[in-house]
């Protein structure tokens, strides 16, 4: 059997990769994908811990997270499409309206 | 001790009637200024009449709050708790008396957005009266802050050239102090709970439960800062000239006559009863600041070129005398200070009204632009002279009674400070008479100028009641003083009995029983 620690390590790795990707990438879409990766990394972590402690709570949470991620993806992607229609760009460096 | 006349919650009515009027005004059409003004005047007039009912029903021999109304509001000690005692009664009357006069004086001065103006004035009135009647610390704070909003708009919209600067300065300055007061309120709340196990922010309860001296010091300073800014005490006074000068006449009148008194009132209602040892400890330092204020304010008034700022600095000087009397912490001084608060409200209110009358005609406040006005406006010159003499403390008028009592009390406490304080007699005569001479006497600045008409009936209706009151209060002060005696005595009492109690107690143990015993008898 693969020890749950390995899954946790993988989850951590995925999370960090997601973070790095978020900061390295310059366009909204790929940054969004990075966020999805981070979410899934979290899911993996939950599952690993659920298996490790033998509890079902973790798996329940994963279902929640997947659902929420899906809903968030819908809205987020819709926003990205709208932004693109308005600004003709999805480079985050160009979207600086919140600048104080 | 509840005295409700004919089953009516009189104090609540007096407090919230103006607010109700303001709400009603929201439904009046804004294109009919006459209706707006009439409604506003009626509402404030009714408020005044209601406050007279309070005066009539007031029992001067009792020192406890009367007309008490209490209702649970937010729970856990944040109650709606109002009442009047000898200290607040006359301040409420002052506010109720001057608001309709201020509105009447603006009849022609404010031409645009009359509806909003009247609404703000009425909301201001509710705020002012609310501060004076609150018996709950939280409620007090609510009203204290609530006053700032209408004042901000009144100065900022209908004010003079530098109105934005003036109103921002005023609001930020005052709020800064209030913020520390809020922190202080939280601390008291917690301390009281820790000491007695129950929640209360009733001023009476808090006064009966003494705090350890170390805590008292910080709390007193927090509260004192808020009040000192409001008074204003030197050197925190610089918001006053700007606010007064830039505000419209009605705003200046209420600002000088009522709002400034709240600082002094705060010391009397909260500063001394809640933190007696701290008050006694800081009294000397505050007295020195007050004396500096008296002399500094007077000297600055001499240097002014604008009529309104001259009167504004004279307010600094007069409030300095009042504060010096308050910090003398004896009966005659405190009663004199209280009386002088009323006097100053009337005389400075009258002075601002007079300046407003002149300004309405010529649209200049610079003294240099005036001369020989008395020749064209004899009735006005007479009333203006009376207002000035009242402010200068001429015997026979109200100013003298307050001043002599203050001097007497201050002298009892500290002879040197009294000697310095007496200089106000010279300074006030100097700057006021100088103003009068430059504006009223001498040859007419411009003989062809026909803008200087004498007072019309409306303006007479505004000024004459104030002047008549100054004479009445100068000749028959007893009618007012007798009603104040008990409450003033009680305030001073706290200073004498408290030190012995607080010194021997430890916060948790003795305080509980002491507080419970005392509060039990007061409820």
């Amino acid at each position: 059997m693969i020890p749950s620690a390995a899954f946790l390590a993988l989850a951590a790795l995925l999370f960090v990769l997601g973070i790095i990707a978020f900061f390295v990438k310059k366009d909204l879409l790929t940054q969004f994908m990075a966020v999805e990766v981070m979410l899934n990394a979290g899911n993996l972590a939950f599952l690993a811990l659920a298996k490790g402690f033998g509890r079902a709570d973790g798996q329940m949470l994963v279902l929640f997270v997947i659902t929420v991620a899906a809903a968030e993806a819908v809205i987020g992607l819709a926003i990205i499409v709208l932004v693109f229609r308005q600004r003709k760009t999805i480079r985050t460096d160009d979207l600086k309206d919140l600048k104080g | 001790m509840s005295t409700i006349i004919a089953g009516l919650p009189l104090v609540t009515i007096v407090t919230f009637l103006p607010l109700a009027g303001a709400l009603a005004l929201a439904f009046v059409r804004s294109d009919s200024p006459r209706t707006v003004r009439a409604v506003a005047l009626t509402v404030s007039g009714l408020t005044f009449l209601a406050s007279l009912a309070l005066l009539a029903g007031f029992n001067g021999s009792s020192s406890l709050p009367q007309f008490v109304e209490r209702a649970s509001w937010l729970g856990r000690g944040l109650d709606y708790h109002v009442g009047l005692d000898g200290i607040s009664l006359f301040l409420v009357l002052l506010a109720a008396f001057l608001t309709p006069l201020a509105l009447l004086s603006s009849w022609r001065a404010i031409e645009d957005r009359v509806k909003e103006f009247s609404i703000f004035m009425l909301v201001l009135e509710t705020g002012m009266i609310g501060v004076f009647v609150s018996q709950n610390l939280f409620l007090f704070y609510v009203f204290w802050e609530a006053m700032l909003v209408p004042m901000y708009f009144l100065i900022g919209i209908w004010g003079g050239r530098r109105r934005i600067y003036a109103t921002m300065k005023f609001v930020l300055f005052t709020m800064f102090g209030s913020l520390l007061m809020l922190v202080g309120i939280f601390v008291i709340y917690a301390a009281y709970h820790r000491a007695t196990g129950s929640f209360s922010l009733t001023i009476g309860d808090l006064a009966a439960a003494p705090l350890p001296p170390g805590l008292q010091t910080w709390l007193f300073l927090a509260f004192a800062l808020a009040f000192a800014i409001k008074v204003p005490l030197f050197p925190l006074h610089t918001w006053l000239p700007d606010a007064h000068v830039e505000a419209p006449t009605a705003g200046s009148v209420l600002l000088a006559a009522v709002l400034l008194k709240m600082g002094a009132y705060g010391f009397l209602r909260l500063g001394i009863p809640l933190f007696p040892q701290a008050a006694a400890r800081f009294a000397p330092a505050l007295s020195i600041l007050a004396v500096i204020g008296i002399i500094y304010g007077g000297l600055m008034a001499l240097a002014q070129k604008d009529m309104k700022s001259l009167v504004a600095y004279s307010s600094v000087s007069h409030m300095g005398l009042i504060m010096l009397a308050v910090f003398s912490l004896n009966f005659e001084a405190v009663e004199g200070a209280l009386y002088q608060m009323l006097n100053h409200g009337l005389s400075t209110g009258a002075l601002f009204l007079c300046v407003g009358i002149l300004y309405e005609r010529t649209h200049t406040r610079l003294i240099a632009d005036y001369g020989g006005v008395a020749a064209r406006m004899p009735v006005f010159s007479g009333l203006f002279l009376m207002a000035m003499l009242s402010s200068a403390g001429l015997p026979g008028l109200n100013g003298f009674v307050g001043e002599i009592l203050c001097f007497f009390g201050i002298f009892t406490a500290n002879k040197v400070l009294a000697a310095l304080a007496v200089s106000t007699a010279i300074l006030s005569a100097a700057y006021l008479l100088w103003l009068y001479r430059r504006v009223m006497n001498g040859p007419l600045k411009d003989p062809d100028d026909d803008r200087l008409r004498d007072l019309d009936r409306r303006e007479l209706a505004v000024l004459v009641p104030v002047i008549v009151l100054t004479v009445f209060m100068g000749l028959f002060p007893g009618t007012i003083l007798r009603k104040m005696d008990a409450s003033v005595a009680r305030t001073i009492e706290a200073l004498r009995t408290r030190p012995a109690v607080a010194a021997t107690m430890n916060p948790a143990g003795l305080a509980t029983s002491e507080a419970a015993r005392v509060t039990g008898s007061e409820r």
Partner: protein, 632 residues
């Protein structure tokens, strides 16, 4: 009838109120009758009360009536009450008597003025306050009258308020008086605190019985006297009185000769036991009086304005009254107050008559030879001049002699010498005035060409009455030389005072009287020599001692000195402090905090880059910190 004495102040007060509110709507005749009538009624009441006191079966301590408790707060209690004793009787009679005559005179003098009712309203108001001052049994109530007469003085000096000089003079009077009043308040507070009450009886009893510590008594007495130097125009607060001549002449007569300026003397007399208990204070009073007497007389020597001479003369004569009080001869000081009221108001009113006749001319250099044209004014003026100079058997002789004799008797030889020097100068400048005005060639353009007429009877009759009193009032106070029983005045008022010190034998007194007479004649003789024919000698003297002349004519430049040392620095200083400190320092601090807040905001603004990336970085860092915190 005599127990209606409490109406004495109230009648003019009521009249004043009516005239103030309704005056302009009333016809002139009504105003005249009401105003003068009110004072006359007070005079009758005063006379009745006086008779009540002087007659048999009178209460030795006088009558008191309390009207109502006025200010009561804690241990501070003042009631509105009036007290009529011998001292009050004398003052009330003087105030109402001379006041009445001046009211009558004013009817003529102010006949052409447009603000007629206002004038009489103020005059009545003044009478009211002066009577309150005089009849007050309590120092606080006296202070009410004290300030009240100051107010009326301000209103009346500046009566012609469209004249800048008048308005300025009125203000100067009020402010300078207030400086004195500030000292008075402190003295009053000191007494209230130490003695426990404000009534004169309490204060005097405490002082007499020694209950009042000597240091305290001295301090209070000096503070009160400092107030008196303002009100009674002594050094150093006399500077308002000469300028006060801007007001109408009857005002100068009433307020600045007979009544208000004597309030300080009255106060010292009223508190005689206090002053008696403090030798230091009494010495201060006497010395200030003496120095002022001589000092003011020197200035009167060279003034050219007829009213200014009289003003300085008043300052000088009041100095005499204070000499009397200072050496313990309060009755003498008071007596001089009474006689001075008569002849000084006479002189002022007569001067008013002259000015009136010349159509407003006040400069003596443009007068002359008026004796023929003013057949009533001249003789009465002569009587007044003789009286003030201390020519025997006129009132001034007896009163001045009483003071100087007392000074001598008490061993105060320097004071006596100063008084004598002042007497010579008094006679001199008075007759200088007389000769310049009434004798010699007519130097005025109007006097030559225009018809100079005597004043109407409404003005001359009071003059004659005053002249009669000036001449004869002396016999009320005949000194012991002529027999003890004749010293009526002293015996009447003596009850109210602490006993005087010092006595002289009859022969010494006779010598002193002769000396006084001689000094008067010397002064008159010198004036005669220098001014009767021509003004050659004085002009030569002025050329010989130009600096001295300039010093005197320039009034020792005291006004300029005050202006430079006190007024200007104060005004400029406050302006400077206002600009430098209030605006720059305090406001800068505030604006500085605002600016600091703004730049802090701007600084922190850097974080608001608008880039999602940066915000995410912040999230991350915070999350790391938080986790670290939790784990460590």
């Amino acid at each position: 009838m005599s127990d209606l004495f409490w109406l004495i102040p109230l009648v003019p007060g009521a009249s004043a109120f009516i005239l103030l509110v309704f005056g302009r709507r009333l016809p002139r005749a009504w105003v005249s009758w009401q105003a003068a009538g009110a004072v006359f009624l007070s005079l009758l009441l005063s006379a009745a009360a006086f008779i009540g006191l002087a007659g048999p079966g009178a209460e030795p301590q006088g009558l008191t009536k309390t009207l109502f408790a006025w200010i009561v707060s804690g241990s501070f209690r003042t009631a509105v009450a009036f007290h009529f004793d011998q001292l009050a009787a004398v003052m009330a009679l003087v105030v109402t008597g001379v006041g009445f005559l001046i009211h009558v005179y004013s009817v003529g003098y102010m006949a052409e003025d447009g603000r007629y009712s206002r004038y009489f309203a103020f005059l009545n108001l003044f009478t009211f306050f002066m009577l309150v001052l005089v009849l007050a049994p309590d120092i606080v109530l006296m202070f009410v009258g004290w300030e009240g007469v100051g107010l009326c003085s301000y209103l009346l000096i500046g009566f012609w308020f469209d004249r800048p000089a008048a308005a300025k003079a009125g203000m100067k009077a009020f402010v300078v008086n207030r400086i004195g009043d500030a000292a008075f308040i402190l003295g009053m507070l000191l007494l209230l605190a130490s003695v426990g009450g404000g009534s004169f009886r309490t204060i005097n009893d405490a002082a007499a019985s020694g209950a009042l510590a000597p240091g305290l008594a001295t301090l209070a007495a000096i503070l009160l006297f400092a107030g008196a130097t303002g009100k009674s125009a002594q050094i150093p607060l006399y500077v308002w009185l000469p300028d006060a001549m801007e007001g109408p002449t009857p005002v100068s007569a009433l307020i600045h000769a007979a009544t208000m300026v004597t309030a300080g003397v009255y106060m010292v007399c009223r508190l005689s036991w206090l002053y008696a208990a403090s030798p230091a204070a009494s010495a201060a009073v006497a010395w200030v009086g003496a120095v002022t007497a001589v000092y003011a007389a020197t200035m009167a020597l060279v003034q050219n304005d007829i009213k200014r001479v009289l003003a300085y003369s008043t300052i000088s004569q009041i100095g005499y009254m204070f000499i009397g009080c200072g050496v313990g001869a309060y009755a003498a000081g008071l007596f001089h107050l009474v006689t001075h009221a008569f002849f000084k108001s006479l002189l002022f009113l007569a001067a008013g008559s002259v000015i009136h006749a010349l159509g407003g001319e006040q400069d003596m250099r443009r007068m002359g030879g008026l004796r023929k044209h003013l057949p009533v004014t001249y003789p009465v003026f002569l009587v007044g001049a003789l009286a003030i100079s201390g020519v025997p058997f006129l009132s001034g002789f007896f009163s001045k002699d009483a003071i100087l004799t007392s000074a001598f008797a008490g061993g105060h030889y320097v004071l006596y010498g100063l008084g004598l020097a002042g007497a010579v100068m008094t006679a001199f400048y008075m007759f200088r005035l007389l000769f310049l005005t009434f004798f010699g060639p007519a130097r005025s353009p109007e006097g030559a060409g225009r018809h100079v007429h005597e004043s109407p009877r409404v003005m001359t009759v009071p003059l004659v009455i005053l002249a009669a009193f000036s001449a004869l009032a002396g016999f009320l106070g005949l000194p012991a030389l002529f027999g003890e029983r004749v010293y009526l005045f002293g015996r009447f008022v003596g009850w109210a005072f602490a006993p005087p010190s010092g006595h002289v034998s009859l022969s010494v007194e006779a010598v002193l009287m002769l000396t006084a007479t001689a000094s008067a004649l010397l002064g008159i003789g010198l004036a005669f020599r220098m001014y009767r024919r021509s003004t050659e000698i004085p002009q030569r003297l002025a050329r010989r001692f130009p600096a001295l002349y300039r010093l005197l004519a320039g009034k020792y430049y005291v006004d300029e000195a005050y202006d430079a040392v006190v007024v200007r620095p104060l005004l400029r200083g406050s302006g400077w402090v206002y600009e430098r400190f209030d605006l720059k320092v305090i406001d800068r601090t505030l604006d500085g905090t605002a600016a600091a807040a703004r730049s802090a905001g701007r600084g922190l603004n850097v974080l608001q880059s608008g880039l999602v990336r940066d915000y995410a970085l912040a999230f991350l860092l915070a999350a790391i910190l938080f986790l670290g915190f939790l784990l460590i």
